[in-house]
């Protein structure tokens, strides 16, 4: 029996319909440390919404979201900031600060928490930039790089911020085929095996390669 505190627990979680999503009613969901879960929903918009909810971007109508055992308080966004810092969100709606360079975007969190500006990328981040061929674009403003490199930079930023959980939402939509293949292939060397990962994708190859469990969720009828 697994007695460890789950990384994420959703209890009777209600999400209001939003945009094209029909919302969720009474979701009960639990993610253990190190699990790689593939999420299945009836409609893509529902899956995207649930991923945003897991990233704490969407407040619930009712229910409890526990992260590492602590119930989250959605009434004050400031109380969610330390939680958000532990969640890596990679989706088409993730973004960088457009008037900063890619390097500054990758270092933003460290600039803040280490309280100094004269720092450079960690070896892991540098190595990923090299592998994905964006090393020569680090000093360009985020708004200047092409969309594929932009999303790759977001992937690197989120994967190197030492997250407890990584949310990978429809990567086939925004990462080029070659890079996605490379990312999936090297996933185990990039992401530590004690990190919880939620993958939402309609590409079975990605799910087969990454996930060790599938969760199917039904929307509000």
């Amino acid at each position: 029996m697994n007695t460890e505190t789950p990384v994420v627990e959703l209890e009777d979680y209600y999400l209001a319909p939003q945009d094209e999503s029909r919302g969720f009613a009474g979701v009960n969901f639990c993610l253990q440390r190190g699990e790689v879960v593939a999420l299945r929903t009836e409609r893509p918009a529902d899956g995207r919404m649930l991923m945003r909810a897991l990233a704490t971007w969407v407040s619930p109508l009712a229910g409890v979201y526990r992260f590492m055992g602590t119930p989250l308080d959605f009434s004050d966004y400031r109380s969610l900031l330390p939680i958000k810092a532990k969640i890596g969100y990679i989706g088409s709606d993730a973004s960088m600060i457009s008037n900063r360079s890619v390097r500054e975007n990758l270092l933003l969190q460290r600039f803040y928490w280490e309280n100094r500006l004269g720092i450079d990328l960690h070896e892991k981040a540098r190595s990923l930039c090299r592998q994905f061929d964006i090393l020569n674009k680090l000093d360009m403003r985020a708004a200047q790089v092409n969309s594929r490199d932009y999303m790759i930079a977001i992937c690197i930023r989120e994967l190197t911020k030492s997250p407890e959980m990584v949310l990978f939402s429809q990567p086939e939509d925004f990462i080029g085929h070659a890079h996605l293949e490379m990312l999936v292939e090297r996933w185990s060397s990039i992401v530590d095996n004690n990190i919880t990962v939620v993958v939402f994708s309609y590409d079975d190859n990605i799910i087969d390669a990454l996930a060790n469990r599938t969760v199917t969720l039904e929307t509000t009828s």
């Binding site: 900031l81 958000k84 709606d93 600060i97 600039f111 803040y112 309280n115």
Partner: protein, 258 residues
Amino acid sequence: MIHIIGKTGRRSIRSIQHLLELFALTYRIMRCGFHRPPEGRVLVRRIVAEQIYFTAIQALPLIIPIALVIGSAQIIQFAELSAQYDLGKTVVLLTVRELGPVVTAMIVILRSATAVTIEMGYMKVFHEMEAFQMAGLDPIRMICLPRLFGITTAMISLFIVFDLVSIFGGYALVWGVTYIPLGNFIVQIGKAISGSDIIVGLLKAIFFGATITVTSLYRGFDVQKQITEIPMATSRAAVESFLYCLLINIFLSIIFYL
């Protein structure tokens, strides 16, 4: 009739709510400024410096010629009108007390308030606020606080530059045609200017800077999902900022000079 009263009432409630929200945002930013955690100070200071550069330094090539034109025009006109006797007093009255803060505010609104609103709107539409939050950083501290301090400091600096350039640069420009001796002019200015003039000028600059920043941030944050909302928000921010500055200007002038 009931329809008109209802409409007026609803508009009044909306206006009051809007003002309260502006005060709430100001309070939240100020609170963030007073409760400074040790982390991120260097980053915040850098953003403040960048904002001062964008708002003050980059505005100098614009504000100096405007101050020269306004200053010289004033000196030419009032030298004729008051036969040079009240020139110093008139220049101080108009430039330091009224024109300086208002013209500076107008330049800051045209250059920076619009830019801030567009930047905030863009950040809102493209989820850049969430990018800050996902790094565990508070957007109020990382975005609003540096802009409030940066723009207010820039406003004070530009106000001082405007006054000095307008008075002395204006004099230098028209020196050849007005025959006002430099000594006389400086003595008149010295006699006319009082401590309260400087304090009121600085107070106006501080209030204008804070008002412009908070209004433009608020309008930027008000943008929801569509990029087409940004031009409307920008226009509203500029008009509202200028209106609030004029009201504050009158209010402070009444308090100190009536």
